[in-house]
């Protein structure tokens, strides 16, 4: 059986944020979307640690972009999800869906 690659919770959030942002995915916007959508205020260091790990795994790739005055003349680092990243995201979702199937929410303490 082929070894499947499951993603951690935060890795999934970061990959989904990159997918949602499309060509505008860089540190500030990813942090912002995580805060707006799931109310998770992560430090920029924690975010870049995860981004570096995902890049090392080949799930995302990065490219340096333009420098702007509002960034103190520093360039942006744009992130893009790779085909392998999309596959890993899909596999993780399917696995979670499979595990959730036939689970009644009352089993985990949620009133229906």
């Amino acid at each position: 059986m082929a070894k499947s690659r499951f993603l951690g919770e935060f890795e999934q959030f970061v990959l989904l944020a990159i997918l949602r942002l499309g060509e505008q995915a860089y540190g500030t916007t990813i942090r912002q979307i995580l805060l707006d959508v799931i109310q998770r205020d992560v430090s920029i260091g924690a975010l870049y640690t995860t981004l570096t790990r995902l890049e090392d795994k080949g799930l995302i790739r990065s490219a340096m972009g333009e420098a702007t005055a509002e960034r103190g003349g520093r360039a942006k680092k744009y992130f893009e999800i790779t085909a392998e990243g999309k596959r890993a995201l899909q596999e993780t979702r399917q696995s979670l869906d499979a595990m959730w199937r036939d689970v009644k929410l009352s089993f985990v303490g949620v009133k229906q």
Binding site: G27, T28, R31, Y48, T49, R71, R74, K77
Partner: protein, 219 residues
């Protein structure tokens, strides 16, 4: 609206701690967000926000980029702790502390080091040691030379001052009350000198190790 700049010390901290490839994008992201939050937050709140980000981010990367500094500091602390433990076993640490003995060895050794090298080289040697990063074999050689001169001249100064103490004791050989403390101080001078030599030896070896992967062409 008057925009303020991010706190310089926090920025300098990040410059020091972040890996080279992340400095530009990460500092840029922080500055961009810092400028954005100024529209709806007070100046003080913005500064606190930046400091919080800087400290949390430094915490993430400190172990990764400053491992050499941590290990060197740990080894020196371990050496100091063991020495103090041995002093306590020998009848109390207080009798081993003598400021004049240290003044007789370390400052003159530092002056000798500055005389045979340059202040820039001395600064660079300590910078290489604490950052764990060397750029060229020339930098390795000059840094190792700094620690060699510092350690060796300190050791010789210690030996010299010890002998000087013995000469002084010899001239007062009839007064036993003077000989005891004078002998202790003269031996302490040698002890401190040997301690400094040991730390300098470790520092020089550390820099040699850091320079192992460097190509001679990078000189």
């Amino acid at each position: 609206m008057n925009k303020c700049s991010p706190p310089r010390i926090a920025e300098a901290l990040l410059e020091k701690v972040l890996p080279a490839d992340l400095k530009e994008p990460l500092l840029g992201d922080l500055e961009e967000e810092f400028q954005q939050i100024q529209f709806n937050q007070s100046k003080q709140a913005c500064q606190i926000w930046y400091w919080r980000q800087a400290l949390l981010t430094s915490f993430h990367y400190f172990n990764q980029t400053q491992k050499a500094l941590i290990m060197f500091a740990f080894s020196v602390l371990f050496f100091v702790a063991l020495t103090i433990f041995a002093m306590e076993l020998s009848g109390g640490a207080s009798m081993f502390f003598d400021v004049p003995s240290l003044i007789l060895t370390l400052p003159p050794a530092l002056v000798f080091t500055l005389a045979v090298s340059t202040p820039g080289n001395v600064k660079q040697a300590f910078s290489c040691l604490f950052s764990g990063h060397v750029d060229s074999l020339r930098q390795v050689k000059s840094s190792v030379m700094v620690f060699d001169v510092l350690g060796t001249s300190c050791l010789w100064l210690g030996a010299l001052m010890t002998l000087l103490g013995w000469v002084a004791m010899g001239s007062h050989i009839e007064d036993v009350a003077i000989i005891g403390p004078a002998f202790a101080v003269s031996i302490l001078t040698l002890l401190y000198a040997m301690g400094v030599k040991l730390v300098c030896y470790v520092a020089a070896q550390r820099i040699n190790y850091l320079g192992q992967g460097l190509s001679p062409n990078l000189d």
